[in-house]
Amino acid sequence: MSKLSNIWVFSDIASRLPEMIAAGVALGEKVSTFVIGTEADINAAFSYGATHVYYLGDKDSQKITEDYSHTMAQTISAAAENTLMLLAPTKRGKALASKLGVQLQAGVVNDVIEISIEDGIRAKHMAYGGLAIAEEKINSPVAIITLSSGAYEVQAADTARTGEAVSVAFVEPASTIKCVERRAKQGESVNLGKAKRVVGVGNGIGSQENLQVAAELSALMGAELGCSRPIAETEKWMERERYIGVSGVMLKPEIYFALGISGQIQHMVGALGSQTIFAVNKDKNAPIFQYVDYGIVGDVNKIMPALISALKA
């Protein structure tokens, strides 16, 4: 695969930056990273392999990150080269991607799982709720991609690495959005995507009391507890960070155990990366059984307590 001479990189969330830079290093000779933050953030970018840092200044509580789109677009277009911009696949990353797409007349693809540079830039992403993979070819001189996690191996940080840092002046956006408040999200942070074992709970669990039973079973298995979307979004019994699927978390565990989950594709696509899949569902025609290694047709109310005693024994 050929490399581009320069790749632009940005992540609004510090923890996602190393992976974006790793992709930049794999795909380009030069990796130019936009940084909003402190000197420590600039040094962190270099330590992960950025060759150039374009510094947009300190975090400013009055501004939203999206307000920097014009600043980024000007910097990128001033470089006048065929290039690729990689962004973290966050909500902000996607907002920036679309804004830059219009400002730079550039093709955009979101949530990309694979990039190839052969004749032009091609990007793959999931479509139809995970049923299929769509491949898109970007024809514009600048290509913009938000990159899913897991696509590139992160390099260990090396604090000895440095590079060239340039300060960029802020370009005022035309439209007006004012941030009047910002607060950290409630709830613990979990990283289901890294868990070795995951128990997923669906609508079939029936009650919040039963959720406790599922949690006990999950703890006995040494697993993290996750869920299907309705449990997080409709019932609100678990945090959004815990729902598995195309619009939630993508798993790669050794074991995934689905309890009372129907197994619709939008959920399953998040679980199909599991090595072994177990499921309990009372409906023998539930789609989940097409994807299992081991399944049992039965009632979770009966099976969960029995499994708990069996695992304790």
Partner: protein, 257 residues
């Protein structure tokens, strides 16, 4: 306040089948309103109930499916006052940057204070249309809106649930917002609203009427193919007697060790 809520018709996922070569067959899948867009329409309807003198136009761009009277009634039964559809054969498989350009032309023609879109659609889930539309129109635009806090002339206050923080934003109108699926629980149309929907006005526009000539193909769709699935054991025990559960527990224990 003049609100436009955008929607897309997408094939019902449950009825899409995968052919042996991995291609998708959507022939048996009836078109339905993209579920995320139902939230956008509902957000418009809720906003209208808060503001006096507010109208809602539903708007969509696409091919022949938009001619279907049932699909038109479906969207109108959810609360919009009227419907504008832009139909053209070449709009059958538009990519987001192109959809945004057609919507821009239609929105400029009708005028608007606020455009509400869903964050993405169930088919390509490109998550770009609302943002690109706002950017093309040169108005304030933002995605991931999870709550509309208040609306007053010329200004909207919204909450945005991001990956690790929540933002409260004041947005100057005109604007385009894209809403996330958790903003509301779309209501189910009643018989009364379904009957009323048939009487609501529909405007059908063509590419020519919008003076849309060529627009760029910044991106091309190369292929849509179902990935090969990992082979699974598919050992399914039927029944939850003590013995059957014990058998299942044994498989689980083996996997855990």
């Amino acid at each position: 306040m003049k609100i436009i809520t955008c929607y897309k018709l997408v094939p019902e996922e449950q009825d899409i089948t995968v052919a042996a070569d991995g291609s998708l067959d959507t022939n048996k899948a009836a078109p339905k309103i993209n579920p995320f867009d139902l939230c956008a329409v509902e957000a418009g309807v809720q906003l209208k109930s808060l503001i006096e003198g507010c109208s809602i136009t539903a708007m969509s761009v696409g091919g022949k499916a938009l001619e279907n009277p049932k699909a038109r009634k479906d969207i109108l039964s959810r609360g919009p006052d009227d419907l504008t559809v832009v139909i053209d054969e070449k709009f059958e498989q538009l990519l987001p940057h192109q959809t945004a350009r057609v919507l821009m032309a239609a929105a400029q023609k009708s005028g608007f204070d606020l455009i509400i879109c869903g964050d993405g659609s169930g088919d390509l889930y490109a998550q770009q249309v609302g943002l690109q539309l706002g950017e093309l129109l040169g108005v304030a635009n933002i995605n991931a809106v999870s709550k509309i806090i208040s609306a007053e002339p010329g200004k909207l206050t919204v909450e945005r649930a991001l990956d690790n923080e929540v933002e409260v934003l004041e947005i100057t109108l005109p604007a385009v917002i894209s809403v996330s699926a958790d903003i509301n629980e779309p209501s189910i149309p009643s018989m009364k609203t379904i009957l009323a929907a048939a009487k609501k006005p529909v405007t059908s526009l063509s590419a020519t009427e919008l003076e849309l000539t060529e627009f760029p193909a910044l991106v091309e769709l190369v292929s849509v193919i179902a990935p090969e699935q990992k082979a699974r054991q598919k050992i399914v025990i039927e029944g939850d007697d003590e013995q059957q559960i014990a058998q299942f527990a044994e498989h689980l224990r083996n996997a855990l060790n």
